[in-house]
């Protein structure tokens, strides 16, 4: 319970307690599906996309739909953080939501989140300190635990900043987005992993450099001035190293801040958090295996082939959002694979780009070796997504085009699956998802090679699924229909008109299905072919 009265620290059970240490037990996010790209903003302002990217390091930002509520995002991020930490919501002592964009003036967001989660005995309050609210919430939550006034605290940072963004201002508008992230804070055993000292500072005399009024509801920002003031404030705080200025001034549009790289404080924090999360998972795994229950598959890493663009890139991002360490495989386009890795890291995930032509018989060993070395954990999820097409009517289809499509779309999936099963059989856990196509179910003239490969992939999926089912490994296929990617540009109007949903699908809609099939929740789904086609094959 949150104990508001001053006095000697007491534990929830009323016993006095010595001061302890607090640590982050889990990290989770919940992001809107909508995206606002820098290219779109650049077009709106008549400037180049590169101008925005060079100053912000941001190519696209998430944006919630007008009907969505911040409390729902906060609750979903919170639920995932609790699930990851293995914490029962009923055991929470305090729920803190750091937000400056609550759904209503009152109530606060935190009580809604606590109610939604079933945190029946928790105190709940919002911290509205804008950019520093999450840090302030962390200081508050950690202090409650250190003083033993609380044992478990859920802290959520959630904002729909695009709702108060001044889109008339090209310098500040590209900086803002909508999202929720959550951490569970609990007691640390000893100093290892403990949250260090947090020095909060403030200087109200600079209030005019960043403000939003009730009447206007627009965030007015003098970026360079905010950055200078924040750095000066951090230095005056003493003891803070230069990274603090970067953290505080992270929204600086002046260009003073470099592009985000692996070495930035943000990435380092994300990595540190990942280490804690993994340690926790490992503990749970032993426990669960001991009880004869299914293992926690996210202890391993995931390999997504052909992930530098389109559906593969969306799958890589979705799996990373679920906590998977992701190998982003690409054949030739290094820069786009790097961009996918970068977007995952910006969202707090971990990923690495791995080169390899999957149709090369040596590719599986190379890819698996590289990933297992990078992440220090076996590949426990494989998504065979890489695919090519060489369309021609059967009478004129060449041997080369036949072989090329079969090699990449079917044979490569077999070799990668065979390699993946080595580790999965040992681990008694694993998820394989093969990206097939409705072309394997429904005739599409000109695609005899592609259809044969994709139908073969479905039959392969079912057979392997049955072979390994008793080892806790699932093998499923996802069969997308018309999806908006480079592969389908120039698709005929007639084909589109045949889609019952009357629209083309998005890579994210396919990725969401893969994310589910790769999750713990899909543990009893195996040998299935899930069509994602707006009803086209129905």
């Amino acid at each position: 319970m949150l104990d508001a009265a001053a006095g000697p620290a007491v534990r929830p059970d009323g016993q006095p307690a010595a001061a302890g240490t607090a640590m982050i037990l889990s990290v989770a996010t919940n992001l809107p599906g909508g995206r606002l790209t820098s290219a779109e903003l650049a077009e709106r302002y008549g400037i180049s996309e590169e101008w925005i990217v060079a100053r912000t390091g941001i190519r696209e930002r998430r944006q919630a739909a007008p009907s969505e509520r911040i409390s729902d995002y906060a609750a979903r991020a919170g639920a995932l953080a609790l699930q990851t930490a293995g914490v029962d919501p009923a055991d929470l002592d305090l729920v803190i939501v750091a937000t400056m964009t609550p759904d209503e003036l009152t109530p606060n967001t935190a009580p809604l989140v606590a109610h939604e989660l079933g945190a029946g005995r928790a105190g709940a309050l919002d911290v509205g300190a804008a950019c520093t609210a999450f840090l302030a919430g962390l200081a508050l939550g950690a202090a409650q635990i250190e003083s033993r006034r609380a044992e478990l605290v859920l802290l959520v940072g959630a904002d729909f900043i695009t709702r108060i963004t001044d889109y008339e201002d090209p310098r500040s508008a590209p900086l803002f987005a909508d999202a929720a992230g959550a951490v569970v804070i609990g007691a640390a055993n000893g100093a290892h992993g403990a949250i260090g000292p947090i020095v909060l500072g403030a200087d109200g005399s600079h209030a005019q450099t960043i403000f939003a009024t009730h009447a206007e509801r627009k965030l007015r920002l003098d970026g360079p001035e905010v950055y200078r003031a924040a750095r000066a404030c951090a230095r005056a705080g003493g003891g803070l190293h230069r990274d603090a200025g970067k953290c505080v001034g992270g929204h600086d549009p002046s260009g003073a801040r470099g592009r985000r790289t692996r070495g930035t404080p943000e990435a380092r924090i994300a990595r540190l958090a990942e280490r804690f999360r993994r340690r926790l998972h490992l503990g749970r795994r032993r426990h669960r295996v001991g009880r004869g229950m299914s293992t926690e598959v996210q202890d391993g890493c995931a390999l997504v082939t052909g992930a530098s663009r389109g559906i593969g890139a969306a799958i890589a991002r979705a799996l990373a959002g679920d906590g998977w360490l992701v190998g982003v495989n690409y054949r030739s386009d290094r820069s786009r694979a790097d961009a996918v890795v970068e977007s995952i890291e910006r969202a707090g995930g971990r990923a690495t780009a791995v080169a390899g032509d999957v149709s090369d018989p040596d590719a599986p060993d190379g890819l698996f070796g590289q990933l297992e070395e990078t992440f220090g954990t076996p590949v426990l999820a494989l998504v065979n997504n890489a695919g090519v097409n060489r369309d021609d009517l059967a009478p004129s289809l060449s041997d080369e085009d036949w072989a090329m499509v079969l090699d990449t779309n079917l044979t490569a999936a077999f070799r990668l699956t065979r390699r993946a099963l080595r580790g999965m059989l040992r681990a008694r856990a694993g998820r394989i998802v093969n990206i097939s196509s409705i072309a394997g179910l429904r005739a599409n003239p000109g695609q005899a090679n592609y259809a044969a490969a994709k139908a073969g992939l479905m039959a392969f999926t079912k057979t392997v699924a049955v072979e390994v089912a008793r080892r806790g490994i699932t093998v499923n296929a996802v069969a997308p229909g018309l999806i908006d990617t480079e592969m389908t540009t120039g698709v005929s109007e007639e084909l589109l008109a045949a889609v019952p949903a009357r629209r083309i699908g998005t890579p994210e809609e396919v990725a969401a299905c893969v994310r589910f099939l790769a999750s713990e929740q899909a543990s009893y789904v195996t040998g299935a072919v899930l069509t994602v086609d707006g009803g086209l094959a129905a």
């Binding site: 080595r422 059989l425 040992r426 072979e467 390994v468 008793r470 080892r471």
Partner: protein, 81 residues
Amino acid sequence: MSTVTNQQVEARVIDALATFGPDKSQITRESTFEELDIDSLDLVELAQIVEDEYGVVLKGEDMKQLKTVGDAIELIASRAA
């Protein structure tokens, strides 16, 4: 490669088989895979463990011939020697 003794192989094979379900005390050289409820997938996994440890590649054909734990130990030891 250093010489692998029959005893070393026996110990490793029995350890591996025990991870597939049967109680270690039940497993002798005379036990048949059928008695131990070791199925074809288990044997594939055993082949992979053997390949990783001794560099001996056992094909599905090889494994199909095996009836008892002793058969497996003899085969692996002869290949590894």
